[in-house]
């Protein structure tokens, strides 16, 4: 019952041509400003603003304000999958779909992004750390709380070293496949290095994919207080919301 009404609402939101164009414009995973989206959807700025409000309200897109800009992006991979499935029904899948479908499953599960962790694993770690209050993400940056400093120190991470120099210490990085944030910066690199040296994850031979070892799964699950399976295959987002 409640589900039917929600579904009708979602369907009506995506049913509008202009809103659909907005969603399609965001399907490459990038975040765009309202003005940009207004141009891409071929509507005036006020109209786009109204549409974006509805898309936000229905949780199809998410927003992150940065200064006087607001960057909009697809809220979750599930939304992207919905649009792709609708494209498939609408006829031959568009070229864009093909690319998105061909993501290597191993890369999507866990990989490195420069020197830190990304993919479902990276996002799950960021989720858990945020949920436990060890890190907090603000606008375009993040910070480590007092409990977080103790947490990472107990792991043996040298935070002073990680925060050294001109490098940003803790910063949310938009995950390409998950369309949500993982942790970059010196902290992300230090945590990734710890996982590697502890044998929790292994680098794949000739890819940025990483594999979580059985011991690593157990250790990370206990460390973060989450289900081990959810680390690389789950949808912890729902529970967090």
């Amino acid at each position: 019952m409640t589900s039917e009404a929600d579904l009708a609402w979602i369907a009506s939101v995506v049913g509008d041509p202009a809103r659909l164009r907005i969603l399609l414009s965001l399907m490459d995973g990038r975040a765009r400003t309202a003005k940009e989206l207004a141009f891409l959807a071929r509507i005036a700025a006020p109209t786009a603003s109204g549409h974006l409000a509805k898309l936000l309200d229905s949780r199809l897109v998410a927003v992150e304000p940065q200064g006087r800009h607001r960057y909009f992006r697809i809220a979750s991979p599930l939304v992207a999958q919905m649009v792709e499935t609708m494209s498939a029904v609408a006829g031959d899948a568009s070229p864009g779909d093909r690319r998105l479908r061909r993501i290597d499953p191993a890369l999507a599960a866990a990989r490195t992004c420069y020197d830190h962790l990304a993919g479902r694993l990276g996002v799950a770690i960021a989720d858990a750390l945020q949920a436990r209050g060890h890190v907090a993400f603000g606008d375009g940056s993040g910070e480590v709380t007092a409990s977080g400093r103790a947490f990472f120190a107990a792991l043996g991470l040298d935070l002073a070293e990680a925060g050294h120099g001109r490098r940003v210490f803790c910063k949310p990085c938009l995950d390409w496949t998950e369309r949500r944030h993982h942790i970059a910066g010196g902290l992300g690199a230090a945590f990734c290095g710890h996982c590697l040296s502890a044998g929790w994850i292994r680098r794949h031979r000739d890819s940025r994919a990483v594999e979580v070892s059985p011991e690593g799964r157990v250790a990370l699950a206990e460390l973060l207080g989450v289900d081990g399976q959810a680390l690389t295959s789950g949808w912890p987002e729902r529970a967090a919301a």
Copy 2:
């Protein structure tokens, strides 16, 4: 470009609450009459008729007239998947979804329906035989063409025996998982028997699922002029349409 317009059209079609209720009413795979759907969607008969016309036009539902009734059903598994994905986005998946997701993959690929073949295999066979003009489906019944009689005779099927008695000879049977037709009746049983005795398929131990042997895949692919992989995992429907 063309794809965007098609997608917008599909989205607007499913975006209407009444049409969505119609689709949801059909999600169990059963075919229903217009009047039934009008009641389930809580709208008057003329309104439902208009909605059904749009749903037909956009190929989201299919219809088969039987006497003075018209039975509507979900057009393809892809459409069902679309509705399910939208439900997932809308919030907690409805109970109906769960059931549909839990279909045994082996059963969905190939199984017996009483004494004939069903699942993707059964539908692929029916598609191919119809495409090659060996069988033809009319309203609720089907018949074997002249070329079809020669085709089955060459296989060694005794059509006289299969058509014996009061049993219907060749009849389309709505496939539970594919929501499209496979071949039932004496002909369907005879063909299934031939596949078994030739070793093309094997019955699963304690399930109605059947497995296609490597030789069977080759033999059936050549016999029907289709890709071997498509027999149990493909989407030949698109090419046929």
